[in-house]
């Protein structure tokens, strides 16, 4: 695995490291976890001596030991995620179709009050708008509370190129089917 391009991200959080500390590597995953007698974990990261591209030969690896970092005290335990789409909206509510993100449950329908949403999300409610609804526990230190988060997708807008290509394809299709 040494010298190959990798896109793995490190599961170990490093707080406050400067760019000088950062390894100049194409791979950012730890290569080795050493379980010590005191149950702490030492992470060993293999560091390339220089930038690696697909044309350059692999660099000589140099091991670098990093200390165990403090685990985060914030987190979200995900119990259920729905991908939703707004079907209809009026001034107080919106109706949506929901799809289980794991595909295990059948589609559901739901009606939400717009007042459930913060203003930044509420302004995005309109027919056809995709959103995500996650349910779970929010972990704060040693406490946990049930949480429900709704946010609307902010996908990039349609591009001129997409519309131009579609128009060209449509005309070709229309000619072949006598659609016009």
């Amino acid at each position: 695995m040494v010298g190959n391009i990798s896109t793995q991200a490190s599961p170990i959080r490093r707080g406050g490291t400067s760019s000088a500390d950062r390894p100049n590597v194409l791979r950012s995953s730890p290569d080795l976890f050493l379980l010590r007698d005191d149950d702490r974990v030492t992470v060993v990261e293999v560091k390339s001596a220089g930038a690696t591209s697909v044309r350059e030969p692999p660099a000589v690896p140099v091991p670098r030991v990093k200390p165990h970092s403090e685990p985060s005290r914030l987190g979200f335990i995900l119990l259920q995620k729905w991908d939703g789409v707004v079907l209809q909206a009026d001034k107080d509510t919106f109706t949506a179709q929901l799809f289980d993100s794991q595909g295990k449950l059948p589609p559901h329908d739901a009606v939400f009050a717009r007042s459930e949403l913060p203003p930044s999300e509420e302004r995005l409610v309109q027919s056809g708008a995709p959103f995500v609804w996650t349910l779970g526990y929010r972990q704060i230190g040693s406490t946990r509370e049930r949480a429900s988060v709704i946010y609307f997708r902010r996908l990039p807008g349609w591009t001129e190129e997409e519309i131009f290509r579609a128009d060209v394809a449509a005309r070709r299709l229309g000619d072949s089917l006598e659609w016009k």
């Binding site: 259920q80 991908d83 059948p106 939400f112 708008a129 128009d167 229309g174 089917l177």
Partner: protein
Amino acid sequence: MFGAGYGECLVLHLTENQWVVIDSCSGVDSGVSIATEYLTELKVPISSAVRLVVATHYHDDHIGVLGEFFERSKSARFGCSMALRTNDWLTLLEVYRHYLQDGGSGVDQLRRVMNELAARAQRKEVAAPIFCIEGRVIREPILPAGAALTCLAPSDAAVVAMHAKIHEELLPRANRRRLRVPGLDRNDGAVVFSVQVGAASALLGADLEERNTPGLGWRVILDHLAPGSLLHDGFKIPHHGSPTGFHPEVWERLITKNGWAVVTPYNRQKNPLPGIEDCKRIAAMTNEAFITSMPGWARFRHLDVAVRKTAEETTLKIAPEQPKHGLVRFRRSVKPNENWKVELFENAKRLSEVLIAV
């Protein structure tokens, strides 16, 4: 007539084992049309026996899995509203190839139909759609002798109005927000058929609503009726029995007194259709009214108590889509003076039972 809490499909047998399917929804297997399941059960060879597949309009409760069914119907022509006969519509279908969110774009099934038509055109088969507009009559050789589908809608004005709506409201524009195809509020472009097979007849109302606008809705159909027009034996009630789908003159001038009527529910909104008042209104028009399944939201269940509690607290309503269909089957001989036989399957009921249940 098939219907669940969401979705409807009309399967017509026109004698001589020749069939027409109008609209589509998924069957028990959600990847397959209910029409596929039904016809397969009857051992009907779909690839040769289905003569015409129609999408009355583009709303997804009418085109569920339509592409799958049309691909099987190798001998069928495809029919749709003249309101879709615009380059803007085809451009919209093509643009929405790039919409990759869950639940699809809302028009994926129609694009699948287009792909199948394009493939047939490549093979030099007849691929041109049949565009339905007021006055068009579909008969032999597409349909068997003695059968005819007469289009009563959309009107010319409705076609023009829909072309404008597609251009202004539906067609994506550069830099505009990437959304699923929104459903337009009104179904002005919906295809309404009068079907006759020998002496049997039915009015298929699709989702056409009354608009109180000149040139649109049921008014224009009534205005264009010739004196002594056919009184149909039965009525597929438009727009899930909603008040906007109702026009009393339609019942007076187009439906036989106490003719049969069938309605499909639509649960996917705050107040499902048909509501109680809608059911009462229909029951007042005929004693022979039927519904494919009960309207109303099912119960939300989840294995995880925390999810169930939180979901119920966050929403005003939440429920699984009604998976269970109902079938109301109407059969009669094509000879004159014969009676209809009505059979109810799965969740289908007499409308009077809905009123009693409330």
